[in-house]
């Protein structure tokens, strides 16, 4: 790592949702602030800025991570994915997103992007995840609107659908 200076902004090169990005950030800038206020992708939300609520969850090199506990400088060279990248096309929803809509897995939607990023990673790594795994992963997120049940149902439905698609003849 080059030696950095607190008073200056430093270049951060990384991949964001498949595109190469060159941004500038002070050492102390959080990844959540970089994404929202420098790059302008406001889908990643900030609910606590101390790592508890999970609203800011993004994927860094495929793994869910709290953007509010990550310094912008830490993602140099990494592959960062945010909620904006989940849908396959402009007017489409991913199966997970569609399941959330069908099952009313959201109300205000503030916690939702973080939850989607966690579940997206879970369903990729553990395609056979059941209710318990899903609940376990959701326990890192706070939702104040839904009471969670519909989120669990949406995730289960998406997992089911994904399994069907992967084994079309089963």
């Amino acid at each position: 790592m080059p030696r950095m200076n607190a008073a200056q902004r430093h270049v951060v090169d990384f991949t964001l949702n498949g595109q190469k990005i060159r941004a500038e950030a002070e050492n102390r800038m959080l990844l959540s602030d970089l994404l929202r206020h420098e790059v302008g992708l406001t889908g990643t939300h900030v609910g606590c800025e101390h790592g508890v609520c999970g609203a800011c969850t993004v994927q860094i090199d495929g793994k869910p991570a709290r953007a509010c506990l990550t310094l912008a400088q830490q993602v140099r060279g990494s592959d960062v994915r945010t909620v904006e990248a989940l849908a396959p096309g402009a007017a489409e929803l991913s199966p997970l997103q569609a399941a959330f809509r069908r099952h009313h897995g959201l109300q205000c939607g503030f916690c939702t992007p973080g939850i989607l990023m966690s579940l997206d990673a879970l369903l990729r790594e553990q395609p056979d995840a059941g209710r318990e795994e899903i609940r376990e992963h959701l326990s890192g997120h706070l939702c104040r609107c839904t009471g969670y049940a519909t989120i669990v149902e949406a995730a289960l439905a998406a997992a089911e659908e994904q399994r069907k698609e992967e084994t079309p003849n089963a």
Binding site: T42, L93, Q107, C108, G109, S139
Partner: protein, 991 residues
């Protein structure tokens, strides 16, 4: 979105929400996402670390001089440009959004900084020096009434800001002749439904027109707009208030953003540029708003068969440090339904409102209901137990009869509709009460702790804007003029292509209003859902609104959707007249379906909706005589039942009254004291259901928050007013793991008073569930004085008695006892360094070495051989601050041991402590042993044990590593807990 077939039948169906595609793809537009003017600066707020203190001096010069800072304001600056906020009762107090010469709660704003970005603004906060003289704080509402209690507002001379007594029927006679008098005393704690999105404000001032333009994620009621305009000293039309398209939840809480609207507006004026402020979570938990805590004594006059003939309420309401609008509304919102679901004819009420050194209170889901029903439903349980009757039987014996609706309650409420008996019967049958009883009996036979609780609740919705004037005496009311009603408003507009736009002043925060309004209006006009688009952003400069606008008191389904239906009906009537003239039939034969208007008796005689709808734009001359335009229709609707309080203080505080009956089966773990909800049944009568999925979503969401209130959440204060639950790691919101799934049942009795027959539904479980769980726990444990939250430590106390202090002192285990309300930390440890004892001794007493090795030290000054002063910056979790420390050395035995004692003071808190350091020679150098005891208060105390202890360990570790390095190498510390007192005392605060 998949296309829905047209025509009727949209209302009552669980259609997919139109809101969701945007929210799911990161395209929501919450306040922090909105574009702002390029010259927008950012606001940060310096807040009081003390619960109660006089401000002696504020020095802002260093902050103002920091590059990037464009303005620094103190209470005096704000005072010069604004007026005190209106207080809802007659009392000689002022109410400012920022402290003037005294701070009265931890977190109260003390100074504002406007800077180019938030990072710089917060740097500047660190440079502001405030000199406080602390005063004794009062946090207990009962103690606040003592004659020798510290008084928050000297102008008032007492902490009791309002008291009123009421009498309905003949309670004295009922009590005198009653077979039994049974009473219960309740202390309901403070909590908050805290949304995941915090407050945000973007403010701008135009000096040319002396006008403010503010966007805030405010939720209403817009009666607050009048409070803001008055405080800013401008007419209402120079205070433009707008809301963003999306809001990340509110549950009442975002009503409380309004003092910050005032602060940001003034800051923008002084800075000469737009100002943006986004609250952080610590600010939110510490200083936004919460529900009131309340001490209630409730007594009932009871006949031998369990019939209640009179109630006597004594309510002591704690509204925190200021009585902020619309308080004391929490105390009066339930006034019309103080008898709950029961027919009780005689009622006496004494209401007192007291001020304490806690955050001012405000709207919170359930608003007044949790406090009232906790007392009432605990009492009904107790009555049954004392009389040896079945609890359900006592409930049933007292219910309002099914044929009595609309039923006028003793206190003036008008219960619109219901069939409580049937709803309860169905809940018991469909909820499996018999099986649950067997389960309980079996568990008990096995020696387990299992209980069943019930709660019966009337859930008011659509508040009467006049109910709060019940706090005034009839004479005061007569002078002030009557207040009543609740205007809701909706606009339906048709564009030149014949598509529909609906506009309402409902300000949703995630409830799906846009979807429901599209359903309602599309159904009225025989159109597919997607033909109607709904806009719920509110702009007071452009839109139709009134003081009742906003999203609170569960008014949407009953009032706002109703107004939209009425507006659609008016348009529909005119469209029918136009179509009739073109189809040569009479208007009463015209029907609307599938995008067509047609003759009901001859459906082939039809014309497209678009054609009829567009006529007002393209060919107004062709409209039949007497038919008005169909371009835009705005309907204001206020229900006649919402009358002003009567001369005898009767008040119909709400238009609608839903009904809830809950059953809870709970088991308590004998070993841990943990409460587990085994089964939960919740029966709702919310009138006609407009969207079943959303109704159940509201029920589940309220239920989850109520689980939090019952088992986990409390805004905890120390005796000195320090706030102890400032992060989401301390204020425990239930996750999916803690949230059981209730069985939701419905029994619909449509309201005769609302256009669609709907009633509110969102708040009910916040009223019913905490007491239902408490009743189950009381049943399991046989304990009467049930206090929330039912944490394992609380329950264990009932199981095993109060915890005794350990027989021998525990080392290295920080304890959060908070004797005086401060957080206490103790610990000890040791470290080895490769250096002689003498050189370590010298290092420890040398300011230059200390400066080099104390983490975050800017300066360490030696005042005398035994007195040091230090300046340090330290961050713990989200709380970073600068501190001055004053350390004295005593009991020095060079080079072996020294005692350090002292205190620190900073914007974020204060601390004091003592510690003993001992140096021992070892084969490789020196071993340092330390033991400390420290107490902290203020903002840092609210960060919570876990973070504090962890942070202390890290800091101490860093100190020893630095010391070892400085001493010329050596091992890392061998223990981790706390040199704190010396370190901490040295470098800034000790925890």
């Amino acid at each position: 979105m998949k296309s829905l077939e047209t025509a009727g039948g949209l209302i009552g169906r669980t259609v997919e929400r139109v809101e969701d595609a945007g929210l799911l793809t990161g395209r929501g537009r919450y306040i922090d996402d909105l574009p702002v003017r390029r010259d927008t600066a950012h606001l940060a707020i310096l807040r009081s670390p003390h619960g109660h203190a006089e401000i002696r001096a504020i020095n802002t010069s260093a902050a103002s001089a920091l590059p990037g800072v464009s303005a620094v304001l103190t209470g005096d600056d704000v005072g010069r440009l604004t007026r005190s906020m209106t207080v809802g009762v007659k009392a000689n107090v002022e109410c400012w959004p920022i402290a003037r010469d005294r701070v009265r709660y931890v977190g109260e704003p003390v100074a504002l900084v406007v800077a180019e970005n938030r990072y710089v603004a917060e740097d500047a906060l660190d440079l502001i020096e405030v000199e406080y003289e602390t005063l004794a704080a009062i946090v207990d509402p009962e103690k606040a009434l003592a004659t020798d209690a510290p008084v928050l507002h000297p102008s008032l001379g007492t902490n009791l800001i309002n008291e009123r007594s009421f009498r309905y029927g003949d309670p004295e006679a009922a009590f005198a002749t009653a077979d039994h008098r049974i009473a219960i005393r309740i202390a309901y704690p403070r909590n908050s439904c805290t949304p995941i999105e915090t407050y945000g404000v973007i403010a701008e001032y135009d000096p040319g027109e002396d006008a403010y333009d503010v966007t805030a994620n405010f939720q209403g009621p817009f009666s607050i707009h009048a409070v803001i305009s008055r405080a800013l000293n401008v007419p209402g039309n120079r205070m433009r208030l707008r809301t963003p398209p999306d809001s990340g939840g509110s549950f009442g809480i975002k009503q409380g953003v309004f003092p910050y609207v005032i602060l940001a507006a003034v800051a923008a004026r002084v800075a000469g540029r737009p100002v943006k402020w986004i609250e952080d979570r610590l600010e939110h938990l510490t200083a936004s708003v919460s529900a009131t805590n309340r001490v209630t004594t409730l007594e009932a006059a009871v006949a031998a068969d369990g019939r209640i003939t009179a109630l006597c309420w004594d309510q002591l309401e704690d509204c925190g440090a200021h009585l902020r609008a619309p308080e004391p509304a929490t105390l009066y919102r339930m006034h019309g339904n103080m008898t709950g679901a029961y027919a009780i004819e005689n009622v006496a009420i004494r209401n007192r409102v007291v001020l304490t050194n806690k955050t001012p209170t405000g709207l919170n889901r359930g608003f007044g209901g949790p406090q009232v029903y906790f007392a009432l439903e605990r009492l009904v349980h107790k009555i049954a137990d004392e009389l040896g009757l079945d609890r359900l039987q006592v409930i049933r014996r007292n219910l309002v009869p099914a044929d009595a609706f609309p039923y006028r309650t003793a206190t003036g409420g008008l219960l619109d509709s219901g069939d409580y008996q049937t709803a309860i019967d169905r809940a018991c049958a469909e909820g499996g009460l018999d099986a649950l009883r067997l389960r309980r009996d079996q568990a008990r036979a096995e020696g387990r702790l299992y209980g069943i609780g019930y709660a019966t609740v009337v859930e008011p919705s659509v508040s009467n804007m006049g109910y709060i004037t019940t706090v005034l005496t009839p004479e005061e009311r007569a002078k002030a003029g009557p207040k009543n009603g609740a205007q809701s408003v909706a606009t339906v507009a048709i564009d030149p292509l014949g598509s529909i736009t609906v506009k309402v002043a409902s300000v949703p925060q995630g409830q799906g209003h846009r979807t429901v309004l599209a359903q309602v209006v599309a159904e009225r006009l025989g159109l597919p859902l997607e033909a109607v688009r709904v806009n719920t952003e509110l702009d007071t400069a452009r839109d139709a609104w009134s003081i009742a606008s906003g999203n609170y008191a569960s008014r949407f389904a009953a009032a706002v959707a109703g107004a939209a239906a009425l507006a659609a009906d008016r348009i529909r009537e005119r469209l029918a007249a136009i179509a009739a003239s073109q189809l040569n039939v009479t208007a009463d034969r015209i029907d609307f379906k599938a995008g067509k208007l047609f003759d009901r008796d001859n459906p082939d005689n039809a014309i497209s909706f678009g054609r009829v709808a567009a006529a007002s734009h393209w060919a107004p001359g062709t409209l039949p005589d007497g038919t008005g335009q169909t371009i835009r229709e705005t309907v204001f609707w206020t229900p006649e039942q919402l009358e002003a309080p009567t001369a005898t203080d009767g008040i119909n505080s709400s238009l609608c009254h839903g009904f809830i009956f809950d059953i809870c089966g709970a088991e308590i773990d004998r070993t841990t004291g943990q409460v587990r909800i085994d089964r939960y049944v919740t029966m709702h009568d919310c009138g006609r259901i407009l969207h079943p999925g959303m109704v159940d979503g509201q029920v589940r969401g309220g239920f989850a928050q109520a689980i939090g209130a019952a088992l986990y959440e409390e805004y905890a204060y120390g005796g000195d007013g320090s706030f102890l639950t400032g992060t989401l790691a301390d204020y425990l919101i239930p996750t999916v793991m803690e949230t059981p799934e209730p069985l939701i049942l419905h029994h619909e009795t449509p309201s005769p008073f609302t256009p669609l027959g709907a009633k509110g539904v969102g708040e009910g479980n916040c009223m019913s569930t905490p007491v239902c769980i408490a009743n189950a726990v009381a049943d399991a444990l046989g304990v009467e004085d049930i206090r929330l939250p039912l944490s394992p430590s609380q329950v264990s106390e009932w199981l095993y008695g109060e915890e005794r202090p350990p027989s021998k002192p525990q080392d290295s285990t920080p304890v959060a006892t908070g004797a005086s309300g401060e957080r206490l930390l103790t610990g000890s440890g040791s470290a080895d360094v490769v250096a002689t004892r003498e050189s370590v001794w010298t290092m420890l007493l040398d300011p230059n070495t200390l400066k080099a090795i104390i983490p975050g030290a800017h300066e360490v000054r030696k005042v005398s051989d035994t007195h040091f002063r230090a300046e340090v910056t330290l961050g713990i979790g989200p709380v970073k601050g600068r501190y001055h420390a004053d350390i004295r050395l005593s009991d020095m035995v060079a080079p072996q041991a020294v005692t350090l004692s002292g205190g620190t003071e900073g914007a974020l808190g204060s601390g004091r402590g003592t510690g003993r350091v001992t140096l021992t020679e070892t084969a490789t150098g020196t071993r340092i042993d330390y033991r400390y005891e420290a107490a902290i208060g203020g903002k840092v105390a609210s960060v919570g044990g876990r973070l504090l202890d962890g942070a202390a360990r890290v800091v101490i570790g860093q100190f020893f590593q630095a010391l070892a390095r400085h001493a010329g190498g050596g091992g890392p510390p061998s223990a981790a807990a706390g040199f704190t007192q010396r370190l901490l005392s040295l470098f800034r605060r000790r925890r």
